[in-house]
Amino acid sequence: MNITVNGDELEVRSPGLTSLLRVLRDELDVVGPKAGCEAGGCGACTVLVDGAPRRSCLTAVAAIDGAEVTTVEGLGAADDLSPVQQAFVHYYAAQCGFCTPGMVVAATHYLDSGGSDDRKEIQEALRGHVCRCTGYVKIIEAVAAARGGNFDLTTTAEGGYTTVMTGDAK
């Protein structure tokens, strides 16, 4: 079996019923997707499979042989964050950070497929994603604002980020 992960075509040797999550984390060392409940209930493992968000813990790898998989690692780099990632920084939308990879992947797909900044619609799009720090307000604010992509991030001397909002707050 082969899958393309963030642009790299990789051979998969795990048994066919292994979950995509375990293939990514344990075999391919792509550890952005998190193993939370591993039963489809938390959304921390969500990745894009052929462009659509999918729970990697619910996906047998043999069912997606040949597919293109995008994880949070494929959406931006530390020195080149995507608009959603920038917004998450700006709004402090990550507390412990465990749910963040799934949230960012789902929010990116929501916005890329024309999602609005309506709070209720964002809530519905992220409904399957649990934040046990209960940081939902900041997450929803970040997704709404990311629609404009209006952030100016600079890297601090310590390697962190500071942000300046350059557009109008929504």
């Binding site: 409940c37 039963a39 489809g40 813990c57 619910l58 047998a60 069912a63 399957g128």
Partner: protein, 259 residues
């Protein structure tokens, strides 16, 4: 994990039926939303697994008043259909789970004993749908309620129903990504004018509510009567005490919508 599992990926409905044979030793992976976690956690250790992703069993076909839905059709593909099935499908899990979960898997969903599951089942029961399945003894077409009572070692091929005159769906409004719906009622006024009601979340599989149907002209009385049709489950998602108070309300609302 599952090192020795033989994994089959049939590429047509015929190949799927042939690979399934008489069932028995075969674990079916449809969308995977139920079975993959069970395999991951070692609850199910398949000798032989049938992955239906490429079996060509998906699709919604509406010819005239007959609707036929393939077993591998995703739940999200149903969400635009008329009530009760459309709103019932839209109420299941969340958008990612709906994209992945399938109709066949929902009809075969088995949760731990006494825990209700299979959100779509109530809508199909209310619609008087029939299930076409294959397995020992060959193909079988039967009412969904009969299928739910005897579905071991069957491979679902599709589900068919006649468009009702009217339909309605009401559920307990509660986020439930991880759990099947705590309680929902589907109703349909069938082509012949009769009213059928079914509850999901009340018992391990969907149950028809004949006493409530008999009182359909009086929604309040029907709501009370529904309590005589089912022994309500008591579990972590909702107590039986709470279900007993909500079921009559949902039955009443559905009947009011059916008019």
């Amino acid at each position: 994990m599952a090192e020795a599992t033989e994994v089959l990926t049939p590429d047509s409905p015929e190949a799927a039926a042939a690979a399934f044979g008489e069932g028995g030793d075969v674990t079916i992976i449809g969308g995977g939303t139920i079975m993959v976690p069970l395999v991951t956690h070692g609850v199910v250790q398949p000798n032989k697994a049938l992955i239906l992703a490429d079996a060509g069993l998906e699709g919604v076909d509406q010819s005239g008043t007959t609707v036929t839905i393939g077993a591998m059709t995703s739940v999200s593909a149903l969400s635009e259909l008329d009530a009760p099935l459309g709103p019932c499908a839209a109420n299941l899990g969340d958008s990612e789970v709906r994209d992945q979960a399938t109709v066949g898997g929902n009809l075969c969903a088995v949760a731990p004993p006494e825990h209700p599951t299979g959100d779509l089942q109530g809508a199909f029961v209310a619609l008087g749908a029939s299930v076409r399945s294959t397995g020992a003894g060959g193909e079988r077409i039967e009412p969904v309620a009969d299928f739910l009572a005897d579905r071991d070692n069957r491979l679902v091929l599709d589900v068919t129903y006649e468009q009702p005159q009217a339909g309605a769906f009401e559920s307990l409004d509660r986020p439930h990504t991880h759990h099947p719906t705590p309680l929902a009622v589907s109703g349909a006024r069938l082509a012949d004018g009769s009213i059928q009601l079914a509850a999901t979340g009340a018992a391990p599989t969907a149950v028809r509510l004949p006493s409530a149907e008999a009182e359909a002209s009086d929604p309040d009385a029907a709501g009370t009567a529904a309590l005589g049709d089912v022994r309500l489950v008591d579990d972590a998602v909702s107590s039986a005490w709470y279900r007993e108070r909500i079921l009559p309300v949902l039955v009443r609302r559905v009947l009011e919508q059916l008019g």
